[in-house]
């Protein structure tokens, strides 16, 4: 007997909301226990994320990172591959963008150098996703294991290069020299100024627009192209894909390369948009949080945008919380983020049976 499924809006709308509320409820209890008012803390967080001057810009800047890494996890997941190597693929993307721009920012026009940097970020990320894909497809090495390993390898490569041959001369920090002036993705406030709007200076840059375009691209790829059709068919049933005349090994490698490319694009925001040089640890865990983003967004670009916005707001609002309350420390904010990841990621379906039961009772 198969259960009648609940309407889609419950699965993709209500359930994540319930998870979120559960996370906030637990966080509220903890905040109450340490002697602060949870509602007040909530207010500070919302103001910090959306209301204060420049807050929205910072929130969307963080959102951009989550969109890229969330999309990366989602594309792989449609082929039922659990890519947890977003972190390493993003590092490689940053390295690719950095190397390319450093190589040509003195000789090529700024726009062209940036374009090449974008391309290189995707290419390096794709390569770092493709290799575990190849190992899975051809050697049966499990993608979860290999992508974790590749995170470590990427981190070591970055340290080796940035503390070594790429380190800028005459300084002590492990980073490259800065890119030539104007060789970067334009900031949104700069663009707005060009049209005569006055905006607060924030790190928000053109990669936010590119991230939204990537969402549309991924939607088209997965649901409107033949390749996406085959990726989904392979993900749901490898035997169906074989039966239909497709080689799952190829699909695994292609899906992992696309996934890696999307993770690599995260570097646009950090390297080409903000830092304008390659630094260590610029990925700061965004690659891992991308897993929670994709889970919460149900692997759909629209869901991922909303989930990214939530995590972006948490990052930015959390910083404000840390600033406003003496008792609420940075670690406390991390814990709230952790609770949300726990409830919407690891425990994503905890409330599903209960919600379904309520729904069917209401319907009767």
């Amino acid at each position: 007997m198969s259960r009648q499924p609940v309407p889609r809006w419950i699965d993709i709308g209500l359930l994540p909301l319930v998870n979120l509320l559960a996370a906030f409820a637990v966080a509220a209890i903890i905040i109450a226990v340490i002697g602060e008012n949870p509602l007040q803390a909530m207010g500070v967080m919302i103001k910090g994320a959306f209301v204060y001057k420049g807050a929205l810009g910072y929130t969307l800047y963080y959102t951009t990172n989550f969109i890229f890494t969330g999309l990366a996890v989602a594309v792989a997941f449609h082929a039922r591959l659990f890519n947890i190597g977003g972190e390493g693929q993003a590092m490689m993307g940053g390295l690719g963008a950095g190397l390319t721009v450093l190589a040509c920012d003195q000789i090529l026009p700024a726009g062209l150098a940036v374009m090449l940097g974008i391309f290189a970020a995707a290419l390096f990320g794709a390569f770092w996703g493709f290799v575990p894909g190849w190992l899975q497809a051809r050697r049966g090495s499990h993608i979860v294991i290999t992508t974790i390993m590749f995170n470590f390898i990427a981190a070591s490569v970055m340290v080796w290069l940035l503390a070594g041959m790429l380190m800028a001369p005459n300084q002590m920090s492990p980073e490259t020299r800065s890119f030539a002036e104007h060789v970067s993705l334009p900031k949104i406030h700069e663009l707005a100024a060009g049209f005569g709007f006055e905006m607060v200076r924030t790190p928000l840059n053109l990669s936010f627009v590119i991230a939204l375009a990537a969402c549309i691209g991924v939607w088209v790829l997965i649901w409107r192209t033949r390749l996406g059709y085959i990726i989904r068919a392979t993900g749901h049933s490898e035997r169906a894909a074989v039966y239909a005349g497709h080689n799952p090994a190829h699909i695994i490698m292609i899906a992992m390369a696309i996934s890696g490319a999307l993770a690599g694009l995260m570097a646009l925001n950090e390297i080409l948009g903000v830092q304008e040089r390659v630094i260590l640890n610029f990925t700061a865990g965004y690659g891992f949080t991308g897993i929670a983003v994709a889970l919460m967004g149900r692997n759909h670009p629209i869901g991922i945008v909303f989930a990214s916005l939530l995590f972006g707001a948490l990052y930015q609002g959390g910083a404000e919380l840390d600033f406003e309350f003496q008792t609420i420390t940075r670690e406390m904010v991390l814990m709230i983020q952790g609770l949300i990841i726990l409830f919407s990621g690891a425990l994503a379906y905890l409330f599903k049976p209960a919600v379904e039961r309520v729904w069917f009772r209401l319907k009767q």
Binding site: M1, Q4, P5, R226, Y229, R232, Y243, N247, F360
Partner: protein, 531 residues
């Protein structure tokens, strides 16, 4: 063994029915699987429950055996109200179950399998000795002979089933539920099972037989209950009914039990298999020296007990597996181990394939019906894809066309594939594969889990396609299906070809012996002399 088991028949009150279900109701979400179901099974009888897939038979026995609990209703066992909340409760109440798929550990001995869960205390040896003595008593009592020290994995399927029955009796079952017990048996093994059921009945055991096969109901039961769409629609004495009436009760309208077969003039050879071999997982061959020719305008049936190589043969013909040795010729194209073809290359030769497992291979269950209806034909179906891009409108229209031509219900291309009934899912697969007007159609278990109405439809479509000039290879474990449709029949046993016989010379007894491993030229002379 601390617990005392009674193997004697009868018990509390022999006049009370062994099973009495009153107003059992069970819903899964919006699916009302059992609606106000009543059932009386007299003690010491064989009672059949018949119904199509999805009629609610499995739900009912799952409630009786404690897998599910009913939303409402009452269960009485031998006149005592029984509160069955788990399988342990069911076993304690004297109910045993033989599942369709056996629950045995292949590398344990028969004895070890039977005492699983009843190992006794600490030292296994004492328990085993006591169990062995007790089992011998039971086996003698019911005439269920089996070597207790044989490894279960080495036993033929019929004997494995006997082990399951012994296991239930060992646990003190006085009511035995058998769920589709003949699905994996040869006709001869099925006959043996029926005689075992007979002797169980004589010894006072009550048997509840769940099946969708009319023949079995007629052959072995005393009384029969018919389920349709979650409800009990009839309780009958088997002697007072007949297959046609039962079929009509099952589906709610008159139905033809076999389609009108007419012979067609066969044409030239379109596919030729020459000593096909396939290595199995172990040193043995999964297929060994299979040779046959397939002619245009014929249905070539392949009979055999499930798991004797016919699935692998279909996979080879479809390009899903590669040959280990031998030569396959499709049209003018040769396929050898050195020069294999992929499934898409074989498809390009005009071969279509209705796979055995529509859930895992033939369809993608989370896809919309429209998406499932282009699986494998993304490039071919006119304008389903333009360049790289899918054309949702064309895909929808194509699917709507197939649904109309093949009477798929509901005719909604946007509905998830998993939400269609088994029969309608299969019709969708059949429609997709037939719509390419293939030269050769490979068909695996076309009516497995399909309701009677859809079976009739699918059979007629296969005959229509044959008459239109296609060659069809039909693999089925349903012997009736093979005998009804095939022009020639090849029987496989343990990966070998037991022989090919013409429709006119084929009957169930002959094919049954070949399925059990008797080559066609060694069949007893008396066999199959009927016209």
């Amino acid at each position: 063994m601390s617990k005392k088991h009674s193997i004697s028949a009868g018990g509390a009150d022999t006049a009370a029915p062994a099973i009495k279900l009153t107003a059992i109701d069970k819903s899964f979400g919006t699916v009302h699987a059992n609606q106000n179901v009543d059932l009386h099974v007299a003690s010491g009888t064989v009672h059949g429950v018949i119904g199509e897939n999805g009629a609610g038979k499995s739900t009912l026995v799952s409630i009786l055996y404690g897998f599910y609990s009913a939303d409402s209703g009452q269960i009485d066992i031998f006149g005592q109200p029984a509160d069955i909340r788990s399988t342990a409760d069911a076993i304690a109440a004297g109910i045993g179950m033989v599942h369709q798929h056996f629950m045995l550990v292949p590398n344990f001995t028969v004895l070890e399998n039977i005492i699983i869960g009843h190992e006794g205390s600490g030292s296994l040896l004492d328990g085993i000795k006591a169990a062995e003595d007790k089992l011998r008593t039971i086996a003698d009592h019911y005439g269920l002979q089996v070597d207790l020290h044989a490894r279960v994995g080495d036993l033929p399927v019929g004997l494995q089933q006997r082990v399951e029955i012994l296991k239930a009796l060992y646990r003190g079952a006085r009511i035995l539920i058998l769920d589709e017990p003949t699905g994996v048996l040869t006709p001869q093994e099925a006959e043996q099972l029926f005689s075992i059921l007979d002797s169980l009945r004589v010894q006072g055991v009550t048997v509840l037989l769940i099946t969708h096969k009319l023949r079995e109901i007629m052959a072995v039961t005393d009384t029969v209950s018919v389920m349709r769409a979650g409800q009990m629609v009839a309780h009958l004495k088997t002697a007072d009914t007949n297959p046609a009436d039962l079929a009509q009760l099952m589906i709610g309208r008159p139905v033809l039990l076999s389609v009108g077969y007419t012979k067609a003039q066969t044409g030239d050879v379109v596919l030729s298999a020459d000593r096909l071999c396939l290595h199995g997982n172990t040193a043995e061959y999964a297929l060994r020296d299979i040779s046959f020719d397939l002619y245009r305008r014929e249905i070539f049936g392949i009979a055999g007990v499930s798991g004797n190589g016919q699935s692998e043969l279909l996979d080879i013909l479809a390009g899903i597996r590669e040959l280990s040795a031998g030569r396959l010729k499709i049209g003018m194209t040769e396929i050898t181990p050195q020069a294999p073809l992929s499934p898409s290359q074989i498809k390009a030769l005009g071969v279509a394939h209705i796979p055995e497992d529509r859930h895992a291979a033939g369809l993608v269950l989370p896809f919309s019906a429209g998406e499932s209806a282009i699986l494998g034909y993304e490039k071919d179906i006119a304008a389903a894809c333009r360049g790289w891009f899918l054309q949702p409108r064309t895909i929808r229209a194509h699917c709507a066309g197939l649904m109309q031509a093949f009477d798929v219900r509901p005719a909604d291309p946007d509905l998830r594939t998993s939400l269609f009934s088994g029969g309608n899912q299969q019709k969708l697969v059949v429609a997709r594969e037939m719509s390419s007007a293939p030269d050769i159609l490979l068909v695996g278990q076309p009516t497995r889990g399909v309701d009677i109405g859809a079976i009739e439809f699918i059979h007629n479509q296969l005959l229509r396609l044959r008459d239109a000039g296609s060659a069809i290879i039909l693999v089925s474990v349903e012997l009736d299906e093979i005998l009804n449709l095939s022009d020639r029949i090849m029987v496989v046993n343990a990966g070998r070809n037991m022989g090919i016989i013409d429709r006119s010379a084929a009957d169930a007894q002959k094919i049954g012996l070949m399925m059990a491993g008797v080559p066609v030229d060694e069949l007893p002379a008396a066999c199959g002399d009927r016209p």
